[in-house]
């Protein structure tokens, strides 16, 4: 039995995996700090003798009517402010710029149809992508793991019900199902999207965990656990689940990629995030019919591509390193 360290070192030795981790860490960092990277309010400011701390997070009443640009215009001699890297808000419309303006020193990645800064929207859009990715994955990993464990462990009619349900759900074209649901629910937002993706994508995880449980159930330590009089719940959660965690983790990583892709596709088609919520797919949607606005296609497209590819590369590296047969080829 190989230790965890072997798995990690085998994984880290793959260059692709390192890149994947680096890209994902960057995207996570941007998502967490998006208010500090792009905002229409300063990070720290002294206006009319009053000190504002982190107005970009709390939006104090005194600064509410202003943006960084209007503040700078009316600043006195003793006033100062520290602006974020991108001094545009995700929903701030720049009256001084044309809609669909190409990249310039004012808007580094150009503006969209509503004169909003593309870079600011991309920075804030990373939140939507990651949130949808992680939340959907949490939902479907939970459902899939639970059903897979029960089906594999108890067998019999439990297995029949779960397996047939899995097969039934798998015959439905996932994308159109989600599209239809998002179309029918009028107030559909990010929350709905996460739940719908989560409720549809669990089938593969359930199959995977079921097979893993069937395999583990045969092993000596499960028989030993039964002989020691442990409850089924304890055997499932303490003895089977931790041993099945490897494949689940791999499935989760691929799942994040698939969910982000799904979110981008839905938003692109106009069934995902509402216009006020910045998202990568939503930005791409702005390029529809405006094909000369290459900055609306290229930059959000690259963001989706890099994030999804990183997840997939990481998932592949994890899968290979959990499998000792493949590990040797890697080394």
């Amino acid at each position: 039995m190989k230790g965890k360290r072997d798995t990690w070192s085998a994984m880290k030795s793959r260059r692709g995996a390192r890149w994947g981790v680096a890209v994902l860490a960057t995207v996570c960092g941007v998502a967490l700090l998006s208010d500090f990277i792009a905002s229409d309010k300063p990070i720290l400011a002294r206006i009319d003798g009053k000190l504002y701390v982190l107005p970009n997070l709390f939006t104090p009443v005194g600064l509410r009517p202003y943006t960084i640009n209007t503040l700078i215009e009316r600043m006195g001699k003793t006033d100062w402010l520290i602006a974020p890297l991108v001094s545009w808000g995700a929903n701030e419309q720049d009256k001084g710029t044309a809609p669909l303006a190409p990249p310039s020193s004012r808007h580094w990645l150009g503006t969209d149809t509503a004169r909003r800064d593309v870079l600011a929207r991309m920075v804030h859009g990373s939140r939507v992508s990651l949130l949808v990715g992680l939340a959907s994955v949490s939902i479907f990993i939970t459902i899939g793991t639970l059903l897979g464990l029960l089906a594999g462990f108890f067998g019999g009619w439990v297995d029949v019900i779960v397996s047939r349900t899995v097969e039934t759900v798998m015959t439905i074209p996932v994308f159109f199902l989600i599209l239809a649901v998002m179309g029918i629910i009028e107030s559909a937002g990010i929350g709905t999207m996460m739940v719908v993706i989560g409720l549809v994508y669990w089938t593969r995880v359930a199959r995977l965990v079921r097979v893993e449980t069937l395999k583990l159930r045969q092993l000596g330590f499960i028989e030993a656990a039964t002989a020691l009089g442990y409850s089924n719940r304890r055997i499932l959660l303490v003895h089977i689940l931790p041993n099945a965690l490897g494949p689940i983790l791999v499935a989760a990583t691929f799942g994040v990629a698939a969910s982000i892709m799904m979110e981008a596709s839905l938003s692109f088609l106009g069934f995902g995030t509402p216009d006020a919520t910045a998202s990568w797919g939503g930005l791409l949607r702005g390029a529809m019919g405006n094909f000369h606005a290459w900055w609306l296609i290229l930059f959000p497209g690259l963001a989706v591509f890099a994030t999804v590819t990183s997840c997939n590369v990481l998932g592949e590296a994890m899968r290979d390193s959990f499998d000792p047969h493949l590990r040797h080829e890697v080394e």
Binding site: M1, G220, A224, A225, A227, G229, R234
Partner: protein, 318 residues
């Protein structure tokens, strides 16, 4: 010497349905197990010894089914008992040590946690108290530096140490019966002796009853009080360990003894028992041992010899 019988097994039959026919793998077994005593079940592969042992814990796996007889544990009937009834016994009052110590330990769990788990699950001990008990138990089963070893994973231990950990797990809740299913088969010969000595010591200290399952007759001398020799699902001879080792009565016991390397001097030829244990579907009529028996008579082909006092044979050795 004899105490009260803690476990009474009567005419136990465990069958497998093969091609619609019930084939008994254990065919009418009867024995008693007393507190503070060790009974060894000895037999070849396929004799039904392991099946008998696991039936006490209700671990007979389908398609195997107990089709007859009774298992009385301290006044409780275990044949047909519910899973809940078994859960009250397993690990608490009856514990088991398995043949493969590698397979029987959870690879992703620290051994200390595995030993502490029955204490926490059954006795409701706190994490800290259970850990202290686990360290204490590790020391008792002869693992050096138990306070450090407690945080090891199974793959960091040798085979003998793993088996000691299994024994510590089994003993953690002070069971009344310990079932040891070929606990030394997967181990080196030198380690075998140590594990046997440990089992014997623990059994004596705790006044446990022990059911020791083995295919190796030479092991029983050091561990058992009584021996039941099994063949094709039946007990063919039951006697004290001295008697089995000096004057075995059943031809099969004698053949087993001759096949054991332990009693042989250098240069002497080992005598294998000719033939194989008959499969479940090919049990012969009459005495199941007669095709391999050097003393078989005409009668042995027709009738099944009844178990008489200590042996089931028409022509026992005297």
């Amino acid at each position: 010497m004899s105490g009260e019988a803690l476990l009474r097994v009567r005419n136990l039959v465990i069958s497998f349905a093969i091609d619609g026919k019930d084939c008994p793998a254990v065919d009418g077994i009867t024995f008693d197990l007393e507190r503070g005593r060790t009974l060894a079940l000895v037999g070849e592969s396929g004799s039904g010894k392991t099946l008998t042992a696991v039936s006490i814990l209700g671990l007979v796996q389908p398609p195997g089914v107990i089709t007859g007889g009774s298992i009385d544990f301290d006044g409780t009937e275990l044949v047909g008992a519910t899973t809940n009834a078994f859960c009250a016994i397993r690990g608490r009052r009856v514990a088991m040590v398995f043949q493969e110590p590698m397979a029987a330990l959870n690879p992703v769990m620290r051994i200390g946690d595995q030993i502490a788990e029955p204490l926490r699950a059954h006795l409701g001990l706190s994490r800290v108290a259970a850990r202290d008990r686990a360290i204490d138990l590790l020391g008792k089963v002869g693992i050096g530096a138990p306070a450090q070893r407690v945080d090891n994973y199974p793959h960091q231990l040798s085979g003998g140490m793993r088996q000691r950990v299994m024994i510590a797990m089994a003993l953690s809740c002070d069971p009344e019966i310990l079932i040891a299913d070929e606990p030394t088969t997967a181990l080196d010969v030198t380690v075998q002796r140590q594990i046997l000595a440990l089992l014997r010591k623990m059994q004596r200290e705790r006044h446990m009853a022990m059911l020791f399952v083995t295919h190796d007759l030479s092991l029983v001398e050091n561990i058992a009080d009584e021996v039941a020799v099994m063949y094709a699902g039946r007990i063919v001879e039951r006697a004290s360990v001295q008697q089995i080792l000096t004057t075995p009565k059943h031809p099969y016991s004698r053949a087993l003894w001759h096949a054991s390397p332990a009693r042989h001097r250098a240069g002497e030829r080992l005598q294998a028992v000719p033939g194989n244990t008959p499969g479940l579907t090919q049990r012969p009529r009459g005495c199941p041992f007669h095709p391999r028996c050097p003393r078989a008579l005409e009668r042995c082909h027709q009738d099944v010899p009844a178990f008489d006092a200590s042996v089931a044979c028409f022509v026992p050795h005297s």
